[in-house]
């Protein structure tokens, strides 16, 4: 059943020009970022004395920055992807097809989330060219890539669950997109709030609630249980909220 639902959502994504425009734009912007980071890095390397080049890490300066930038791009790209998931169905009155059938709400939500994720993965696939280029210029330490990709994928999952919820509460795609952009920014701001707070415990709570600290740890290859639990509970909470929001029809 999930497969049937997923196939329908994925087909509807990949048959619309929006998907290709987004994939194209994403590749373009992340490509420019990558190129820019490479140039900055090589300029930096040439500027410092020969015996100190070891202090400037390629991983820190290029790879981790690139993935942090990809996370930043998600702020706009993921809301654009998730905005239509429920809003469109509401506008077309097509949710009734599901409600007339024995399908359960969580199956619909999961299938839509997975379809959005598949589009994100298609975007990230384009960035797979970058390691090839790095390999071409003689850098072969790719161990960091696994955790780097994992971190952006986990972030994407969290943003998608938030975006799905926003889409389920509004029949208007633009409003759904704006809400999820604000939601993601709020998630980042929680962490900034933690940075500004002098009370250690409050700061720790803020850091745990915000998404950035978890993202950065996994990005650097420290994959802790608490971070995985954070993502799992984040996605579950917004999944449940979306189920509740769809249940509103029964009021």
């Amino acid at each position: 059943m999930i497969w049937t639902l997923f196939k329908k959502e994925a087909q509807s994504y990949f048959s619309s020009p929006l998907a290709y425009v987004l994939i194209g734009l994403f590749s373009l912007i992340s490509g420019i970022m990558f190129f820019n980071l490479l140039v900055t890095y090589s300029d930096g390397i040439q500027a410092i004395p020969q015996n100190m080049t070891e202090t400037v890490s390629f991983v820190d300066e290029v790879v981790l920055r690139l993935f942090a930038n990809i996370n930043f791009l998600f702020l706009v790209f993921i809301p654009l992807i998730t905005m239509r998931l429920f809003s469109e169905e509401k506008r077309q009155d097509t949710l009734e097809i599901f409600w007339l059938s024995p399908v359960r709400d969580w199956q619909i939500i999961l299938a839509k989330g997975l379809a959005a994720l598949s589009l994100i993965l298609a975007m990230l696939l384009m960035t797979g060219l970058f390691p090839l280029i790095i390999w071409g210029i003689g850098i072969q330490d790719f161990s960091v890539l696994f955790s780097a990709y994992l971190s952006v994928i986990l972030n994407a999952c969290a943003y998608i669950s938030l975006g799905l919820f926003c889409s389920s509460i509004s029949g208007n795609q633009i409003i759904a997109a704006l809400l999820s952009i604000l939601g993601i920014m709020f998630l980042w701001m929680i962490t900034w709030g933690g940075n500004l707070n002098s009370n250690f415990i409050v700061a720790e709570i803020f850091h745990y609630l915000g998404i950035s600290s978890h993202f950065e740890r996994i990005l650097r290859g420290v994959i802790g249980t608490q971070d995985l639990i954070y993502y799992l509970s984040f996605i579950s909470i917004f999944g449940i909220l979306t189920v509740k929001s769809l249940d509103r029809r029964n009021w």
Binding site: M1, E96, I97, F98, S101, P102, V103, R249, N250
Partner: protein, 309 residues
């Protein structure tokens, strides 16, 4: 089991508005039940509640002997609904759309059912086309195909002929009549002649309340108020003053000059045509025709929706 559907004092309230007010009626197995009312009378709300899309504020809906709310998953394959706005995906082809609907209902024999439904509804020419590009008539038929695709024994059709051209309306009506051989159908409309043509039972709703429910004949009988005669006189003849006619009270007299016809309504239901003819002939008036007129559903409907509004 005679009644497939029993709606028992169902009320639906929205903040500050009662959309459906203590509605009760039942639908017999194998019938086409007309659900009649002007726009905004509460037809769609009631139908959505029966289909399990909307819970009633109070009252119970029993379908196949089971209470519809809280939602029963196994009832879902038993009800087909064509809502007022057919739930169509504009970017899917007709075939993909129906396949999707079939899969949602766990159907196994989708290809053979597809051929059946497509040919039954004359959709052969558009089966590979994108729904968004189809005409309104085709879209409506695809919507109906969706409702009947998984072979639900109970169908709810909310104004299926609304906004279609006359040719499509006739075709669709014939198709719905054909469906009734195997299925029970609740069919809503605000067009009376349509309901009269295809339904054997009707329920009339107005401002959220049921005004009448039963089979067509019963409703006609119930709302016939006294005898109505259609009297045709030979050209040039004039109807004499009938107030002195026997001991019957004459209600209203309507004169249609163009046809030399009169409509006479009487308080009594007694059929006194022979006496009337004898009287008129005795007065030297040439009588052409005398007919008992049964009131049209239209009159009943207008009467009910006007006087109690």
């Amino acid at each position: 089991m005679d009644n497939i559907l029993i709606v028992d004092s169902v009320t639906k309230e929205y903040p500050g508005r009662v959309a459906v007010d203590s509605v009760s009626f039942s639908v017999k197995k194998g019938s086409i039940h007309g659900f009649l009312g002007p726009n905004g009378a509460g037809k769609s709300t009631t139908m959505r509640m029966i289909a399990g899309l909307l819970p009633p504020t109070s009252g119970t809906i029993t379908l196949f002997g089971e209470i519809v709310f809280p939602e029963k998953r196994h009832l879902k394959n038993q009800i087909g609904l064509l809502p007022e706005n057919a739930p169509l995906y504009p970017d899917m082809t007709v075939e993909d759309y129906l396949t999707f609907v079939g899969k949602l209902h766990h159907m196994k024999n989708i290809p053979s059912r597809m051929d059946e439904v497509i040919s039954g509804l004359n959709l052969q020419d558009v089966r590979k086309r994108i729904i968004g590009n189809l005409s309104k008539g085709y879209k409506q038929r695809v919507g109906l195909a969706q409702a009947i695709f998984y072979n639900a024994p109970f169908l709810i059709l909310d104004e299926p002929t609304n906004g279609l051209d006359p040719q499509s309306v006739v075709e669709l009506r014939e198709f719905i009549k054909g469906l009734a051989k195997e299925k029970t159908i609740l069919f809503s409309s605000h067009i009376l002649s349509e309901v009269e043509q295809i339904c054997d039972h009707i329920t009339i709703i107005h401002q959220g309340k049921i005004r009448a429910s039963g089979n067509l004949g019963e409703i006609h009988r119930k709302f016939r108020q006294g005898l109505v005669l259609k009297l045709g006189l030979s050209p040039g003849e004039k109807l004499p003053d009938l107030s002195r006619f026997g001991h019957y009270e004459v209600g209203t007299t309507q004169h249609f000059t163009s046809e030399d016809q009169y409509h006479l309504s009487f308080e009594s239901e007694h059929d006194f045509r022979p006496e009337l003819v004898k009287y008129l002939v005795g007065q030297g008036i040439l009588v052409h025709t005398v007919m008992v007129e049964s009131p049209e559903l239209e009159d009943i409907f207008l009467h009910m929706t006007e006087t109690r509004a």
